[in-house]
Symmetry: C2
Subunit: 394 residues, 2 copies
């Protein structure tokens, strides 16, 4: 299969690129290295020593005799280059990771909000518009987020994208109809994913573009079989307050003996998936595209849910580190239920790696090994959802 | 009241600015004149001879002793200027017309799609983000579109923004809940209005921003009491295939004896509102803002619905002009129901001008008077929703 991976230098994009290359697909990575540039801006770094994209790609090609190509441009800005690439490469599928993906960064003042809206929405629209203009039949696989569903406790099982509802028609008779699950994003980042969904639905209906939207839980873990084969291929690991997702942050904190930082009561329940399963899910999505005239296919890309408190206790018990409760920088409910359908991927063969089996090796092989690279001043989140979420000054 | 009118040089923005100025409000118009620039790009012009914004504004201020101010900048691009304006002027309310508002233009190839997404979404986000950053309590009145609801025939009365549905909880028990009416936009332009709605909901919930979103029908008519007081204040009248809305296009066609161009079967039903009622509705919305902590207020800003065929027949009978059925450039249903709730505005005192009473004077005073300005080559729409919507070549 001919595949373009937009955002292929990032935390999810890089291991996906290697895996699909290994599986024999022809892979082009397009990336403007925005994630690395944001590291410069935030003055922090991956805990793991990632190599330049050029070095990574050439090492992979050298070791495996595969031929990943890398092109550096901004899909949100350089439409002509994008269109030319569709014309020359004629991809069967594209994978769209080319979005600013940190909720805290997206709430870090107006600059973060504006960059996230501008980049994410123009990127998605450019991709879809270029597919229409190129007159090609390209399957779009997009990384969405579980956060589009919202984390409230209304007693609903989170479906895979669509939900059946009953409404009154104008004769006051009940009619049953399927609708997209009403979105309830909790940050500007999540907002863009819900706005993406509307774009996909429109281009799907108007132009017949085939789209699979993957609503992903929080990814944990760092390495895949492919990124492990040589140090130069190592994947990034973010532990900072903006880009470090909760579980990886805990693991690194445990490794250096820093108290685990729980936001608010820790009553929040979230969905998780291991990075190796993430890569596998992308492959499953690619191999099982929607058919012509199908609506947008939505899969929930997660394998288990955990309450943040339980997670902190689990790691605290395992590693003997204390827990510190901080004022929640996010404007969100103290606690929520989360019961999620994920039958689609399970039925298509996903066999999940569980937290209980993978946690210790992750601490040992990554967090402990590279903990000297940690800048402790970057651990606490400095992005606040509202004025009221800021810690009180002394 | 201190009011900034973004997009105050446009078809709706200009008469709104004058009316609110007349009612004693302090009005600043912010506009980058994009609508006039698109006229240059499309090589067409308002049928009515509109004056430059400078001339318009100074004539109004001279005649009425009011003091409308005009500032030329792009709200989608110049965030700092926007923020400074909020700090210096401290508006009570803003009215957001600063969006590309033609559905055909938004479907005119990738350029129209990209401009509409980029401009409309960044404009809305910049406004909301600047309100948060300025820490002011500003009521946002936004011009949405009836088109966000979609034009299908599912037998539902279109509510004002929200709908009650029944769903099964995880114990398989029915629960009833209110959700935003599921959007179903029919063009990129309408898509941006549905994406705007998600932004309003987010900023409303996270930051408490008070928003009124007005889902407007097709505006007809040209002049208001204020734009009529001097020729230099005349409002624009668009008759071209992209910006001319269906009723104004018919009126102009009737005036010059051109067959009325009906797209497809003419079975489409649409909602309408006269321009004087539009202005009145904006005032009502300003004077009846949502309270602190209220959700986004949604009003349907329309007064009557008509089937396009009936409309064409009405004008054909009145003016003795024939009807020509063209292949529909839009990808839409041949026919649809449209039953719309508009109790909010009626309860707040709107007394609608009906089509039956206003049509003839509109033809006489505008279309006939200025018909020598018409470039007939611009009448037919040259924007096609898909390849299949293009007319067959001979």
């Amino acid at each position: 299969m001919r595949i373009i991976i937009f955002g292929g230098d990032g935390f999810c994009g890089w291991p996906t690129s290697l895996y699909l290359s290994k599986m024999g697909h022809e892979v082009i990575i397009v990336d403007n290295l925005s994630r690395r540039k944001i590291d410069l801006e935030l003055e922090c770094n991956s805990l793991t020593p990632i190599q330049s994209i050029g070095k990574r790609v050439s090492k992979w090609n050298e070791l495996t005799k595969n031929n990943i190509k890398f092109i550096n441009f901004d899909v949100a800005k350089n439409y002509s280059q994008l269109l030319n690439l569709f014309h020359s490469f004629k991809p069967d599928s594209i994978i769209h990771f080319a979005e600013q993906r940190s909720a805290p960064y997206s709430m870090k003042g107006s600059k973060g909000k504006r960059y996230t809206i501008d980049n994410n929405l123009n990127a998605t629209n450019n991709l879809l518009s270029a597919i229409v203009e190129s007159k090609q039949d390209v399957h779009v696989v997009h990384l969405g987020s579980m956060g589009v569903y919202g984390y409230s406790s209304v007693g609903l099982k989170i479906p895979e994208g669509y939900i059946n509802v009953k409404v009154k028609d104008y004769n006051n008779k009940d009619i049953e109809t399927e609708i997209p699950y009403p979105p309830r994003p909790g940050s500007i980042y999540h907002l863009t994913k819900t706005q993406d969904s509307l774009m996909f639905a429109f281009y799907n209906e108007n132009d017949g573009i085939r789209v699979t939207d993957l609503h992903q839980g929080i990814v944990w873990g760092t390495q895949t079989n492919e990124t492990s084969i040589h140090d130069d291929l190592i994947n990034r690991f973010d532990y900072d307050g903006d880009y470090g997702t909760v579980l990886n942050r805990f693991l690194m904190q445990a490794a250096i003996g820093h108290p685990l930082t729980v936001h608010g009561t820790g009553g929040q329940t979230r969905a998780f998936i291991h990075i190796k399963d993430m890569v596998k899910c992308i492959e499953i999505a690619l191999l099982n595209p929607p058919k012509k005239n199908d609506k947008v296919l939505v899969f929930n890309q997660m394998t288990e849910t955990h309450n943040i408190n339980d997670l902190a206790n689990k790691i605290s018990n395992l590693m003997g580190v204390s827990i510190s409760y901080l004022k929640n920088p996010r404007n969100e409910a103290n606690a929520n239920d989360l019961i999620v359908e994920n039958e689609c991927f399970l039925n298509l063969g996903l066999n999940p790696i569980t937290l209980d089996n993978g946690l210790l090796s992750e601490v040992r092989n990554i967090a402990k090994k590279y903990c000297n690279n940690c800048d402790e001043s970057k651990i606490l989140s400095q992005s606040f959802w509202t004025e009221a979420n800021k810690p009180k000054k002394n």
